[in-house]
C-alpha cells in the first residue's frame, strides 16, 4: 500500500479528475463568457445568478453531488469543474472586453460581421487574460478534485491523505502532500507551455514594443 507504483496510480487518478474538471471548466467557461459579452441582456440575467452560485461553498455542495451523481468519478469532476469555472469566466470576459477602441472602429469601417469580429479580434485579444485565468483554474481544479476525494473515494491523493490520517500515518500524509505540490507545479507549467504555443506573436517577436 505504500509502493511507488501505488502512489503513482493514485496520482494518475487525481490528475485525471483534475484534468476532466479543468477541460469542462474551460469549454463551458469560455462559451459562457462569450455569451454574456455578446448579449447585454443575458449578461444582466445570467451573470448575477452565476456569481450567486459561485458564492455557495463548494464543499457544502459535495454531499449533494454524491446523492445526485453516485460515488463514481462524476461528482468529483463536477466539484473540480465548479471550483475552476469562475476564474475562466471572469478572466475571459475581461479579455473579450479589452479590445482597444481603435481596433473596434477599424472593424466597423471594414463592415465585418459580429462573428468575424469575435473570431478575428476579440478571442485573440482575450487570450493573455484567458491564459492567466486558466492557470488559476488549473490549480483550483486540483483543489476541487482533492475536495471531491475527501468526501467520498476509494482512490486518489485525497483519499490517500484522508485514510493515512485515520491511521495517524504522518509520513504518508506528507508524501501525498509533496506529490500534490509537484503535480500542481507541473500542471501550471503545462498550461504555460500551451500558452507559449498558442500565442507565438507574444513570444516570438525579436523585439518587444517599439
Amino acid at each position: 500500500m505504500t509502493s511507488p507504483a501505488w502512489f503513482a496510480e493514485q496520482t494518475v487518478y487525481t490528475v485525471g479528475i483534475t484534468f476532466a474538471g479543468f477541460v469542462a471548466a474551460v469549454v463551458f467557461g469560455v462559451l459562457f463568457a462569450v455569451v454574456i459579452v455578446e448579449w447585454k441582456l443575458l449578461d444582466r440575467l445570467l451573470f448575477p445568478l452565476f456569481v450567486g452560485l459561485n458564492s455557495v461553498p463548494k464543499v457544502a455542495l459535495a454531499p449533494l453531488f454524491i446523492i445526485w451523481f453516485g460515488v463514481g468519478d462524476a461528482p468529483k469532476i463536477a466539484i473540480a469543474f465548479l471550483i475552476a469555472v469562475f476564474a475562466v469566466v471572469i478572466d475571459t470576459a475581461l479579455g473579450l472586453r479589452s479590445v482597444p477602441p481603435d481596433i473596434l472602429d477599424l472593424a466597423k469601417t471594414m463592415r465585418g460581421s459580429r462573428l468575424k469580429v469575435l473570431l478575428r479580434v476579440k478571442l485573440f485579444c482575450a487570450m493573455p487574460h484567458l491564459f492567466a485565468g486558466l492557470k488559476v483554474a488549473m490549480s483550483l481544479a486540483l483543489v476541487g478534485a482533492i475536495v471531491g476525494e475527501f468526501v467520498s473515494s476509494q482512490r486518489g491523493l485525497g483519499y490517500v491523505i484522508l485514510s493515512a490520517q485515520g491511521m495517524f500515518d504522518t509520513t504518508r500524509v506528507f508524501a501525498a502532500i509533496a506529490i500534490l505540490a509537484v503535480v500542481g507545479v507541473v500542471l501550471i507549467e503545462a498550461v504555460a507551455i500551451v500558452e507559449r504555443l498558442a500565442m507565438p506573436w507574444h513570444y516570438s517577436a525579436e523585439r518587444q514594443g517599439h
Partner: protein
C-alpha cells in the same frame, strides 16, 4: 462626392455636454486631397468619424454621392493615429484583413497585398509580427491595409502623428505619390501646417472647439510635388498665411 451642410455634433446633454462640431459646411469633390487642420480637441477626428459612418452627426446633412451617410460607405479605407494593427496576425494577414472582413477570398487579394507591401519597402517583413516592426514600419503596414481594396475614399486621422520628422517626411512623399497614381479622394487630419500644405489640394482650417471652419484654402502648388517644394516661395506663403490664422485665433504667439 462628399457634401456636408451645417453638420453639428454634440456629445452628452445639458451643461455637461460637449459641442464638438458647430455648423460644418464643406464640399469635397472626387479626387481631391483635403487636409483638416486645427488645434487639438476641435473636432477633426469627430468629423472624420462621421464621414466614416462610425459616428452620427447630431444635426445637419452629411451626404456621400448624394445619399446620407448611414454606416461605413462602400470602398472606404481608413488609417488611424495609432496604427491599429492586430498583434496576433503577421504583416501579410494584417494587410489582407479588409478582404477577410468583406468575406472575399483572401487568396484573390494576396498578390495585391504583396505588391503594396513591396511598394512600402516591407517585402522582407511579410511574415513578421507587428511587434517586431518599428513605428514607421507599422504605420506603413496600416496604410497598405487601408489601400488593399482600392478605396475610393481614404480617411486618415493623423497617421504620422507619432513618427519622427525624417520618417514622416518619407511617408509624406510616399503618400503624395500614391494619391497621384490612383484616383481616390483623401481626407487627411493633421496638426502639421507643412504636412497639410505639402500633401493637399485644399486645406481646411478649423477653429478651437466647438469646431467651425475658419478658412478653406486651395493650395495651387504644382500637382506633382517634391520635398524641395517646401523651400519655394508659394509654399512659404501658404504656410505663413495658415500660421497667421492660428495667431489670430490666439493659438500661437511669439
Amino acid at each position: 462626392m462628399i457634401h456636408a451642410s451645417q453638420v453639428t455634433k454634440q456629445f452628452g446633454h445639458g451643461h455637461k455636454g460637449v459641442t464638438a462640431l458647430n455648423g460644418i459646411s464643406l464640399t469635397i469633390n472626387e479626387g481631391e486631397f483635403v487636409s483638416l487642420l486645427g488645434p487639438s480637441g476641435c473636432g477633426k477626428s469627430t468629423f472624420l468619424r462621421c464621414l466614416a459612418g462610425i459616428e452620427t452627426a447630431s444635426s445637419g446633412n452629411l451626404l456621400i454621392d448624394g445619399k446620407p451617410i448611414a454606416g461605413p460607405p462602400d470602398r472606404l479605407g481608413m488609417a488611424f493615429q495609432r496604427d491599429a494593427l492586430l498583434d496576433w496576425f503577421d504583416v501579410l494577414e494584417n494587410v489582407l484583413l479588409p478582404a477577410d472582413f468583406g468575406n472575399k477570398r483572401k487568396c484573390d487579394y494576396e498578390p495585391r497585398a504583396r505588391e503594396l507591401l513591396e511598394m512600402a519597402g516591407l517585402s522582407a517583413f511579410i511574415h513578421s509580427y507587428p511587434r517586431a516592426l518599428s513605428g514607421g514600419m507599422r504605420q506603413r503596414v496600416a496604410i497598405c491595409r487601408s489601400l488593399l481594396l482600392d478605396p475610393r475614399l481614404l480617411l486618415m486621422d493623423e497617421p504620422f502623428g507619432a513618427l519622427d520628422a525624417l520618417t514622416r517626411d518619407q511617408l509624406n512623399v510616399d503618400l503624395h505619390h500614391l494619391s497621384q497614381q490612383r484616383n481616390m479622394t483623401v481626407v487627411f487630419v493633421t496638426h502639421s501646417i507643412s504636412e497639410a500644405v505639402f500633401l493637399s489640394t485644399r486645406v481646411v482650417v478649423f477653429s478651437p472647439r466647438p469646431g467651425r471652419i475658419v478658412e478653406d484654402i486651395a493650395i495651387d502648388l504644382p500637382r506633382e510635388r517634391r520635398l524641395a517644394v517646401r523651400e519655394s516661395k508659394e509654399f512659404g506663403d501658404h504656410a505663413r498665411h495658415i500660421r497667421g490664422l492660428f495667431e489670430k485665433m490666439g493659438l500661437i504667439h511669439d
